[in-house]
């Protein structure tokens, strides 16, 4: 019997990136003209050579994944962490046979299924029922299998009443619930999962996590990519960390997450404004006496009426500890409609136990979060500020409590 389910040897994936686009300069008109004039000739040249448009010396390549080797045993549930662009999704695409590696090879022993992004393949004009069948068969289920699990899927997604309504009339929550439900009922020996838990409201996320735990305990092999450190800790016994396309850690989730989060963060984050959407251009977290101070500068191409900023503090292993926003905690006077501005938040440090805290940010208006960055800043609180107790058994929050003691009388 074969003990190995997934085996990767020296996996590498190279992508072509236009050097000109990458450096952000605009092409000159002359350059564009000569390029488009020579396009038909380059087309004919490259057509039968089988390589891509305009791969010439002006273009550079990047390695999205480089020299990655690992083995995953049958029945193992392995989490994959890394920042955006670290190569996690590329890895899953290679293992899911969606794209071919440039170097190395991956062997998959058993039938594999990918849950790469829920809702791919849903057609807005088709009803919920029709989409379940369509999506199920795209994911590789047989019609009989889908029919057998149909009621289960519908019940899980909680869309019984709307099952014969075209999904274009669904709310985004219903849509995502249905999509997840189909994917979660996929019965393959090996499951590649990318960020599926980031759907729906909190209650549904809990339900999804519960479903994933069921799947995990059924003895299947799962490779699970997520930004949610807490769900990786809850599901996995092993984690792989990627950075710049390389496998940098392979250990228990606790160690990997602590190492992964610890090494790379600063207390200042800056970003160029995006012409399309609101951006936090600069974020800084500092400690001032007994307060943690957040200072957030933002710019937006359109007015935010009013701007709403929210943050979540996570502990050193990524579990959320505390979060709020200026809808929950209104600012006085209320901010006017604005395209740019600065939020300043003071958080009493005395309520936090010593630990490394990480910050996630959201920016938007009262209806939509336009911008979101997870765990991009950190701050270390030592015992001088927070309460002096260890965190591991007492939690992260310190609250003033009132105590009483009465000695038993008569002893």
């Amino acid at each position: 019997m074969n003990e190995i389910a997934i085996s990767a040897r020296g996996l590498g994936k190279q992508y072509h990136v236009g050097a000109i686009e990458q450096s952000g300069r605009y092409k000159s008109l002359r350059e564009s003209l000569t390029r488009s004039a020579s396009a038909p000739f380059r087309l004919i040249h490259s057509l039968f050579a089988g390589h891509r448009t305009g791969v010439d010396d002006r273009e550079t390549t990047i390695w999205a994944l480089r020299d990655v080797s690992f083995d995953i045993k049958r029945g193992e549930i392995v989490g994959v962490v890394g920042r955006n662009g670290a190569g996690k999704s590329t890895l899953l695409k290679i293992l899911g046979r969606i794209t071919e590696p440039t170097t190395g090879q991956a062997e998959i022993y058993g039938r594999s299924g990918s849950l790469l992004e829920v809702g791919t393949g849903f057609h807005p004009e088709l009803t919920g029922r029709e989409n379940i069948y369509l999506n199920g068969s795209i994911l590789g289920m047989k019609r009989a299998q889908i029919a057998q699990r149909f009621d289960e899927i519908v019940a899980f997604a909680e869309v019984e009443r709307f099952i014969d309504t075209p999904v274009k009339h669904y709310s985004s929550g219903m849509y995502l619930r249905l999509a997840f439900a189909v994917a979660a009922h996929l019965e393959t020996e090996i499951l590649l999962v990318d960020e599926v838990l980031a759907v729906g409201d909190y209650r549904f996320q809990e339900k999804c996590l519960g479903k994933m735990k069921d799947v995990a305990s059924s003895g299947r092999t799962i490779l699970y990519v997520s930004h949610s450190m807490s769900s990786i800790q809850a599901l996995c016994k092993r984690a792989l960390a990627f950075s710049d396309g390389r496998l940098v850690a392979d250990s228990t989730p606790q160690e990997v997450i602590a190492g992964y989060i610890g090494g790379t963060l600063e207390n200042i984050h800056s970003e160029a404004p995006d012409p399309q959407r609101p951006t936090i251009t600069r974020a800084e977290v500092t400690l001032d006496g007994q307060s943690i101070l957040l200072s957030i500068d933002f710019e937006s191409p359109f007015p935010l009426t009013p701007p709403v900023f929210g943050f979540v503090m996570h502990n050193s292993v990524g579990a959320p500890v505390f979060g709020t926003n200026n809808t929950a905690d209104p600012i006085d006077p209320p901010p006017p409609s604005a395209r740019a501005g600065r939020f300043e938040v003071a958080i009493p440090a005395a309520h936090f136990r010593p630990d490394r805290y990480l910050f996630s940010f959201w920016l938007g208006d009262p209806f939509i979060d336009h911008y979101m960055r997870e765990m991009i800043l950190h701050i270390n609180l030592n015992s001088a500020v927070g309460g002096g107790l260890p965190t591991d058994c007492n939690g992260n929050i310190y609250l003033p409590t009132r105590w009483r003691f009465e000695a038993a009388s008569g002893r």
């Binding site: 992508y15 087309l43 057509l47 089988g50 891509r52 448009t53 695409k93 899911g96 046979r97 969606i98 794209t99 071919e100 990918s114 790469l116 992004e117 791919t120 393949g121 057609h123 004009e125 088709l126 029709e130 069948y133 369509l134 068969s137 795209i138 994911l139 590789g140 047989k142 019609r143």
Partner: protein, 260 residues
């Protein structure tokens, strides 16, 4: 390099669902619905009959001109629509291609297959026209499935090339309306291929649609002699196109997910 046809067969249910999806959504949110399948050949027939039949007096093998050109337009419309649907099929399903593994061949195949419903509807129009002109069906119509198959093979063969090309070169999208217009006039729809003499007529058959249209016309409305050599040439051309297209598609599909 294999064509992995066995895998395609294993995914036959997906092929069915894709085809069914295409059929199902094709006329969603249109007022005329499936009537579009009739309107297209009907109006082209009217225009052709007026300009080529009445004014230019193009010969029509002693068949009433409207019937003559409709018998050509019905398979042609299937081919042209299949071509345009299938050529864009990979690009319109780009999110699917970059997220899920399945045999990519099933997309263009189902796009062409889904045109079969339209073909059936437009055949009803043709039958109506035959009744009007008191044209009776002969035993020759037994050959019809053969010509349907040939039309399917031609459409798929060309589509495999174009859809794979379209992934990398979006120029294809602009070229297709133009290409299919040119191709229509290179196909004996508005005029009979009997304007040519053998062996030129058979050579004309390297345009696979020439064989389809002439064969279809011969089977239904009885254009005198069977255009045998021409159909032979067309079948060979269509098969070569299909096999070449399938290999080209297989070679290019490795990079679809990266490029699309």
């Amino acid at each position: 390099m294999g064509l992995k046809l066995r895998e395609l067969w294993e995914y036959r249910e997906l092929l069915y669902f894709f085809t069914w999806r295409e059929v199902k959504v094709r006329y969603k949110q249109t007022v005329m619905g499936a009537a579009w399948a009739i309107i297209q050949p009907l109006f082209t027939m009217l225009i052709f009959s007026l300009f080529f039949g009445k004014l230019a007096k193009v010969p029509s093998d002693r068949i009433p001109y409207p019937l003559f050109c409709l018998a050509g337009l019905v398979p042609w419309t299937f081919f042209a629509n299949g071509l345009s649907q299938a050529s864009s099929s990979l690009v319109t399903s780009s999110n699917l291609i970059s997220k899920v593994y399945f045999p990519r061949l099933s997309l263009p195949i189902s796009a062409v297959l889904s045109g079969a419903i339209d073909l059936a509807i437009s055949c009803l129009l043709l039958v109506g026209m035959m009744l009007y002109y008191r044209q009776t069906l002969t035993l020759r119509c037994m050959y019809l499935p053969l010509f349907f198959l040939l039309a399917f093979v031609s459409a798929l063969g060309v589509s495999l090339w174009l859809s794979a090309l379209n992934v990398e070169y979006r120029d294809v999208r602009y070229a297709i309306p133009f290409l299919s217009q040119l191709w229509m006039f290179a196909t004996p729809i508005a005029y009979p291929s009997s304007l040519l003499h053998e062996p030129w007529r058979a050579i004309y058959g390297v345009n696979p649609m020439a064989g389809v249209v002439e064969g279809f016309r011969w089977a239904l409305v009885g254009a005198d002699t069977a255009p045998g050599p021409m159909i032979g040439a067309s079948s060979c051309a269509a098969l070569l196109m299909l096999i070449g297209g399938a290999f080209y598609f297989r070679r290019m599909e490795k990079t679809f997910a990266d490029v699309v």
